[in-house]
């Protein structure tokens, strides 16, 4: 029989490499006809950062979008970018091209001020024209300024810059540090149908809301939401490199053995974009890249519970796991011990390790010590003082 269920998850995700210290750089030059070349090392392997960066440069410089082309092709002509990962492309790479565009605009205004015999502070760049503020009829085209720079002044209109969140060192005792450039948020509602005879789960609808600070390109944000949604369904329901982890049995070496979501597995999408701007982001942007596959697996898990009353805690929720959970519902019911409600005892470290996991600092007392007490003391760490450096093991790096 098929059962319907609905589940909710809410998540957050950081921008940039954890602990920071990951720079991106860019440089820009303007050709004699005013067209703009942007160089950055931010390789675009399909995520679309080159389009987003072009949009940022167009507005930061004040020229039409189609005047700007961007080259991210190689390390000889393009300056450094730490890389396309850690959800850093729009925010850190985007800030780098923004800073470079602002520097280029300054250089452009300096030439224009000489040509127009006005103070550069009285000038602005709008739609490819350098205009005197308040007197828009007094203007020069960016192409005219760039031409003058090249042929009248013998120079180049160019600018370069970079952006980085300075590195933060975590306190080894407390972990205190400032690890991220910004934090994005998302919430996801999954609606599912669970077949209690086959264990098959079908996601019928995903409602997803993402705070991206500012959607530089809403179409591409929606693309990330839906693409991430499909990937999240793969994580939540289908994909596993070791089907019988931790054993090595039945590893798949081709797509026929390793199931990934196909178009028929994708549900109805409701995409919601929230814009709660980040103070440091380019035009207020945060990030969406990686986080777009994080909220669906727990939302699907909650929906399965809503539908058939079992928790799947070993993601993905394959038909085998769902059926097993239904079969073992009684044996795997949570254990009550005083004020403790203990789920998943049978898969915990203490249950599986031959020495009870001695060596790890536990999140609870072993069962023998908990039983009967039930009081606040049960929360105590297993070791007398986990802050004691005596628990350190291994040889120093």
């Amino acid at each position: 029989m098929r059962h319907r269920g609905r589940g909710l998850a809410a998540i957050e995700y950081p921008t940039g490499m954890n602990l920071g210290g990951d720079p991106s750089q860019a440089w820009i030059k303007i050709k004699p006809d005013g067209r703009v070349d942007v160089f950055a090392g931010t390789v675009d392997i399909g995520q679309g950062s080159r389009t987003v960066h072009t949009q940022i440069v167009a507005d930061a410089l004040g020229v039409p979008y189609d005047w700007v082309t961007m080259d991210v092709s190689n390390t000889d002509s393009s300056p450094l970018c730490t890389g396309t990962f850690a959800s850093r492309g729009t925010f850190i790479g985007g800030n780098a091209v923004r800073v470079a565009a602002e520097k280029t605009r300054e250089a452009l205004l300096a030439i224009a001020a000489q040509e127009m015999e006005v103070d550069p502070n009285d000038l602005e760049v709008v739609d490819g024209e350098v205009r005197v503020k308040g007197t828009p009829t007094q203007k020069l085209g960016v192409d005219e300024v760039a031409g003058a720079a090249t042929y009248a002044y013998g120079t180049i209109v160019t600018g370069s810059g970079g952006w980085m969140k300075p590195a933060s060192e975590p306190d080894p005792e407390t972990g205190e540090c400032d690890p991220h450039a910004a934090i994005s948020y998302a919430a996801c509602v999954a609606e599912v149908e669970v077949d209690d005879e086959t264990g098959e789960v079908v996601v019928t609808k995903l409602i997803q809301a993402y705070d991206v600070g500012k959607a530089i390109n809403p179409t591409m944000v929606e693309g990330q939401i839906e693409g991430g949604g499909a990937m999240g369904i793969g994580l939540g329901l289908l994909e596993q490199a070791y089907p019988y982890y931790p054993t090595l049995e039945h590893r798949g070496d081709r797509f026929g053995h390793y199931l990934m979501p196909a178009l028929k597995d994708t549900p109805e999408y409701v995409n919601l974009i929230i814009e709660n701007p980040s103070a440091d982001g380019p035009f207020g942007a945060k990030a969406i890249g990686e986080m777009a596959n994080n909220a669906q697996p727990p939302a699907i898990g909650a929906a399965i519970h809503d539908a058939v009353g079992v928790w799947i805690t070993e993601m993905p929720a394959t038909p085998e796991r769902v059926l097993r959970a239904l079969d073992e519902r009684e044996q795997r019911a949570p254990r009550r011990d005083g004020k403790w409600l203990i789920f998943d005892d049978d898969i915990s470290i203490t249950a599986v390790s031959s020495n009870g996991g001695d060596g790890f600092i536990h999140v609870s007392l072993p069962a023998a010590d908990v039983s009967g007490s039930g009081g606040g003391g049960a929360a105590g760490p297993r070791r007398p003082d986990p802050g004691d450096p005596g628990v350190a093991r291994g040889s120093p790096a």
């Binding site: 909710l8 809410a10 957050e12 995700y13 390789v43 392997i45 399909g46 679309g48 389009t51 949009q55 940022i56 507005d59 039409p64 979008y65 092709s73 390390t75 970018c81 990962f85 739609d127 080894p172 972990g175 934090i183 948020y185 509602v189 409602i207 809301a209 500012k214 991430g228 596993q240 490199a241 070791y242 982890y245 070496d253 081709r254 390793y258 929230i274 709660n276 103070a279 986080m291 596959n293 994080n294 909220a295 519970h305 993601m315 409600l341 789920f343 915990s348 470290i349 599986v352 020495n355 060596g359 790890f360 600092i361 609870s364 606040g376 049960a378 929360a379 760490p381 986990p386 291994g394």
Partner: protein, 457 residues
């Protein structure tokens, strides 16, 4: 402000859908050789003999690469950040996982290269693999490294986050909910497998066409294996093909470059899909235990977590990922008292690596499933539990960063609206700003309220 916010089509979208975009594997140059690799057939063991002589003698074979060829055979992806390098590019005296690279061949065709690979003789002395991270400290288990099965974060064998007084929270709690969460390993599975074409130029430079996600990062790694400066290499990146984290690992570029140097011919190494699945790196499996101290009315007073991250056979990016995981173990919520530990455990699985959401995908699954269990136990709606404990402006993260623009509340309310969920007015009218006095119990004001008040406590 005309371009920002506009729905421009992506610059290369039309090229992609009409098949005119070139994958890195589409690049060919005259005289190009092809690479195939010899990889470990066992999960763990000593290499007792490696003989490449028959392969080298085969017609059409231009170079055979072993651990003796790189200037440095052990380069750590994060060694510049203080993570000690441990993984050899080409195995020398032992293998720690099935699929570990032992030798590579450059030949006139892929078929000939594979023929040569099949002629390389290797003998092993097999060991029992270590596989279950929960048994990392068990005395009866095999040791993956000479230093044991756990990565050492100076000064502990784990990294930690501590905030507030977690013992107080667990004493105060009406209910303590504990659970275990085990998100599994998956493949990055990009549409183009990892590929590189290395071209030795006439002036002595090396041009490397690469599928990398990080040209400068990969160039730095290759420079170390070759023992040259950064201006002796030019990386050319791709324009499509995906990555999802798996192409941060610089796996094929050093092999292509070293073979090209040795053969003095351009060499292309495109990993096979089987290599991608069985030998190249996966998303890590995790084991996460969470115990939350909660009040009957739905405040999360404290959280203890214990995370084990399966690094596979070598450190890779694991030290980084397990720490990032820890820094986000409160999820989108403000929890005043936390005690969190994260361990990186070595196993004889394939080394694990970055993948979309690195470190945090696992914690999102664990924390959110746990939140739903807490809601069920307390009989509180999962919407209200989340809104109540959600991040607000001025709250402190577990690592004591003051939040400036959190959106737990707006994203949840947007979903509630779209899902037709009716919330009580005190929740429906919430903003990302301060908690309302009504919802905030007086005795928790210090902790759940303003960041500075808690910090100075």
């Amino acid at each position: 402000m005309k371009a920002v916010g506009a729905r421009f089509p992506r610059y290369d979208g039309l090229l992609h859908v009409t098949g005119r975009t070139r994958y890195v594997d589409d690049f060919k140059v005259p005289g190009m050789l092809w690479c195939r690799t010899l990889r470990s057939s066992i999960d763990s063991g000593r290499i007792t003999r490696l003989d490449t002589s028959r392969a080298e003698a085969l017609d059409g074979v231009y170079a055979v690469l072993t651990h003796e060829d790189p200037d440095r055979n052990v380069v750590g992806h994060l060694e510049d950040l203080g993570v000690p390098p441990d993984m050899p590019l080409l195995a020398e005296d032992e293998v720690r996982h099935k699929g570990q690279l032992i030798a590579a061949v450059a030949a006139e065709s892929e078929e000939r290269a594979q023929q040569a690979v099949d002629m390389i003789e290797v003998d092993y002395e097999e060991r029992q693999p270590f596989l279950d991270i929960r048994k990392a400290f068990d005395p009866d288990q095999p040791q993956v490294t000479p230093d044991g099965n756990v990565y050492f974060y100076d000064p502990y064998d784990h990294c930690r986050v501590r905030k507030g007084d977690v013992d107080w929270a667990f004493e105060q709690a009406d209910v303590i909910v504990k659970g275990c969460y085990r998100p599994q390993a998956i493949e990055q599975a990009p549409i183009e497998t990892q590929a590189a074409l290395a071209i030795p130029e006439a002036d002595g430079k090396m041009t490397v066409h690469s599928t990398t996600q990080a040209m400068y990062f990969s160039m730095g790694i290759v420079a170390k294996f070759l023992g040259v400066s950064l201006n002796q290499i030019k990386f050319v990146g791709g324009t499509v093909g995906g990555g999802f984290g798996g192409k941060v690992d610089t796996a094929v570029e050093p092999i292509a470059a070293l073979l090209a140097r040795k053969a003095r011919r351009p060499v292309k190494y495109r990993s096979t899909r089987e290599e991608e699945f069985l030998a190249l790196w996966t998303r890590a499996p995790w084991h996460i235990e969470i115990a939350d101290a909660v009040s009957r009315d739905g405040w999360i007073l404290g959280r203890r977590t214990l995370t084990l991250h399966d690094a596979g056979a070598y450190t890779g990016f694991s030290a980084y990922g397990a720490m990032k995981h820890l820094h986000h173990s409160a999820g989108a919520y403000t929890i005043p008292n936390v005690f969190m530990n994260s361990y990186v455990v070595y196993t004889n699985h394939v080394p694990t690596s970055a993948m979309r959401g690195f470190g945090v995908t696992s914690v999102s699954f664990a924390v959110e499933t746990h939140m739903n269990r807490i809601a069920g136990e307390l009989g509180i709606s999962p919407w209200e539990l989340r809104l109540k404990n959600g991040n607000r402006i001025g709250d402190l993260t577990p690592t004591r960063v003051k939040l400036e623009d959190p959106s737990t509340v707006p994203t949840i309310l947007a979903c509630a609206d779209a899902a037709g969920v009716e919330l009580p007015s005190e929740y429906a009218q919430m903003t990302p700003g301060e908690r309302s006095g009504e919802l905030l119990p007086e005795h928790l004001e210090d902790q759940l309220g303003k960041a500075d008040a808690w910090r100075n406590r």
